[in-house]
């Protein structure tokens, strides 16, 4: 064996270009770092995360304390006076609402709720959707057929509609009232979005299954569980990460829409509670006083847009970095 190879020109370390070997993730990270839009998006996402975590220390005021009529309808910093005729007060940078509550503090606390509303359901959906998708894609057969028919049905139901239906019908049950409505919200979001991810993961498993390294593992006698966890899963992580980057803003918007309709999380009136307000509630509150305090709605809409755009840039960058073939 050794003799046979000596006569052949071999690629020795000295003839290879002097680059250290790089893992798939190192390569992806390098590609991502070169993408300026994605980097800016990523940094902004981190800033929002920090704002959500430290909302209670960052907020200049108690978000539910009303400072009374004298401090109501104060304008935000870019307006010298509000339609209500009040002058700007530096203690309230983004102004106040009709009860004299600080808008900045309310938005910070809302960020906390909305970030949780975006991140928590993703975990659940990934667990359900990825597991079902992988197993059915890899195993095939009747289980796969059944899953595909079920996802076909869910494909035909508008997600908004189903979400609203679940929230409204179960909103007054014990489940809907528990923990500010968070469990029900998680359940509803999981119910409407697992099928899309399952479909995606199934496709990924199907594509990978026919590749030669999986075949090699099969012929070496690897078990199904081994192949799924060691070969299929790691190679689908890229697709999954991109899906998550796009799913989080979708879920945040879903919360905002439900909150605006008045079906979302139930804000607590206890300042020590975690959920005091959410972006959805803030949209509802701000829209109701648009005539006398348009700056409030503008602040909320801007804060939400920046996060959603950041996630999109980050998601686009991740897609290009993790799978250059998908690049548009």
């Amino acid at each position: 064996m050794a003799q046979a190879t000596t006569s052949l020109p071999r690629a020795t370390p000295s003839t290879l270009p002097a680059t250290p070997s790089q893992s798939q993730w190192e390569l992806a990270w390098r590609r991502l770092r070169r993408n300026r839009a994605a980097l800016v998006g990523g940094v902004l996402v981190v800033i929002y995360l920090l704002a959500a975590i430290f909302a209670s220390s960052l907020a200049p005021h108690n978000p539910i304390k009303d400072y009374g009529a004298a401090k109501a309808f104060l304008p935000p910093f870019w307006q010298s006076d509000s339609p209500a005729g009040k002058a700007f007060d530096p203690a309230f940078p983004l102004g106040t609402d009709q009860q004299g509550r600080d808008v900045l503090s309310r938005i910070l606390y809302g960020t906390r709720t909305s970030v949780v509303a975006g991140v928590l359901p993703v975990t659940i959906v990934v667990l359900i959707g990825a597991t079902l998708g992988f197993t059915s894609g890899y195993l095939g057969g009747s289980a796969d057929n059944l899953l595909m028919r079920i996802t076909d049905i869910f494909y035909a139901i508008p997600t908004e509609l189903l979400l609203i239906l679940v929230m409204v019908t179960l909103g007054d049950t014990a489940l809907g009232k528990a923990a500010n409505g968070v469990p029900l919200f998680l359940l509803a979001l999981a119910a409407v979005s697992w099928s899309g991810l399952a479909r995606l993961m199934r496709g990924s498993a199907l594509a990978l299954k026919s590749l030669s390294f999986v075949e090699a593992a099969q012929s070496l006698g690897a078990s199904r569980a081994h192949i799924i966890t060691r070969h299929i899963l790691p190679n689908s992580v890229g697709v999954l990460v991109v899906w998550i980057a796009f799913a989080i803003p979708r879920f945040i918007i879903a919360e905002a829409i439900l909150g605006y309709i008045g079906l979302g999380l139930r804000p607590s009136l206890n300042p020590n509670d975690f959920f005091i307000t959410s972006w959805g509630r803030l949209f509802l509150d701000a829209y109701s006083i648009i005539g006398s305090q348009p700056g409030f709605l503008l602040s909320v809409a801007a804060v939400v847009s920046v996060l959603v755009i950041s996630f999109t840039f980050l998601g686009d960058g991740l897609r290009d970095a993790l799978d250059p073939r998908m690049k548009k």
Binding site: P158, L161, L165, T169, T173, I257, V308
Partner: protein, 331 residues
């Protein structure tokens, strides 16, 4: 083609059945009946509730209500009344004396169909689609023809933002700009006659579709521009205009056309939130109101109607595929 259509229409049955079942189970799981009021308000007395329940057939067992709703049931006089399969979506629980289909499709007296609830939704969706295509397609083509120019970058930035920011948020910005800032329209429109009041809601609603169309158009144009038949057309000495219009555009439009089906379905059923923000008196706003009123037959009827729209939208894509591109034929 006939067997394909027959198979697809047969597939509608299980889908609608499952959707109806999910909706029915959810509504039965909801605490409180359609006759309950706010806990603070005076309640409907139990005797009346019983009478109402009997009148609407709510005293029957759940399975019979479900089948009765979908297929039909025998009424008090022993006559068979056909259910949802005949387009009878049942009597509304809250708007007495009206059926759900009347509420959705019947215009006010002496008005045209376009003034019905669905007519308003339709007007919004058609205008939004028109905006998406009339702006999106030229923007995409222009972007591709001037690839990597500043105008391409500007258009790409706008489409990226249009895809990222949902119409829910764009709607609030547009109200701030057009109603509060420029005072071009009232925050809440008073009359929804004609086209004018729909323009801004439709632009907002169609913005995402416009961005997606522009992005798709740009990428397929870039793809088509590098095809051999385009090079051949140029080599023949055809005018650049002819190459663009006859050779590139026609082929680049195929993917865009096939996205129309889901786009139309999405625009028809996705207006729940937009209608609520702008106060458009359409199906979506009614849906939210009937939810607040616990008008279960309205909720069920609207849901089924929406699902039928989506199924038809998806089906139309598959048919369109074969029509616009003979290379793809349904089996």
């Amino acid at each position: 083609m006939a067997t394909f259509l027959a198979r697809r229409f047969l597939w509608f049955i299980p889908v609608l059945l499952v959707v109806a079942l999910i909706t029915f189970v959810l509504m039965k799981a909801a605490p409180g009946g359609p006759w309950d009021r706010d806990p603070e308000a005076k309640q409907v007395d139990p005797r009346t509730q019983e009478l109402l329940a009997r009148q609407y057939g709510l005293d029957k067992p759940a399975w019979r209500q479900f089948i009765g709703y979908l297929i039909g049931d025998v009424d008090k006089e022993g006559q068979f009344v056909c259910g949802a399969v005949c387009g009878n979506l049942g009597p509304s629980y809250r708007q007495r004396g009206k059926t759900v289909q009347q509420i959705l499709f019947q215009p006010p007296p002496e008005k045209s169909f376009f003034d019905s609830k669905f007519g308003h939704t339709l007007r919004l969706a058609v205008l939004a689609l028109a905006f998406a295509l009339v702006v999106g397609i030229p923007a995409g083509v222009f972007s591709a023809l001037r690839q990597n120019s500043w105008i391409d970058y500007a258009l790409t930035l706008i489409t990226n933002i249009g895809i990222a920011v949902p119409s829910f948020v764009v709607a609030f910005f547009s109200i701030l700009i057009f109603a509060v800032g420029l005072k071009l329209m009232p925050v809440v429109q008073k009359s929804w006659a004609g086209i004018t009041p729909f323009i801004i809601p439709a632009i907002v609603f169609g913005f995402g579709t416009m961005a997606q169309t522009a992005r798709l158009m740009r990428s397929t144009m870039l793809d088509v521009m590098r095809q051999d038949y385009v090079r051949t057309a140029r080599a023949k000495g055809l005018l650049e205009q002819a190459v663009i219009w006859k050779h590139m555009l026609r082929n680049a439009l195929i993917p865009v056309i096939t996205t129309l089906g889901p786009a139309v379905a999405g625009l028809l059923t996705g207006s729940i939130v937009i209608e609520n923000i702008f106060g458009v008196p359409g199906v979506g706003r009614d849906f939210i109101q009937s939810i607040g009123n616990r008008d279960y037959s309205m909720i069920m009827g609207t849901t089924l109607f929406y699902v039928v729209l989506i199924l038809l939208g998806n089906l139309s894509v598959d048919i369109l595929y074969g029509v616009v591109d003979p290379r793809i034929r349904v089996e």
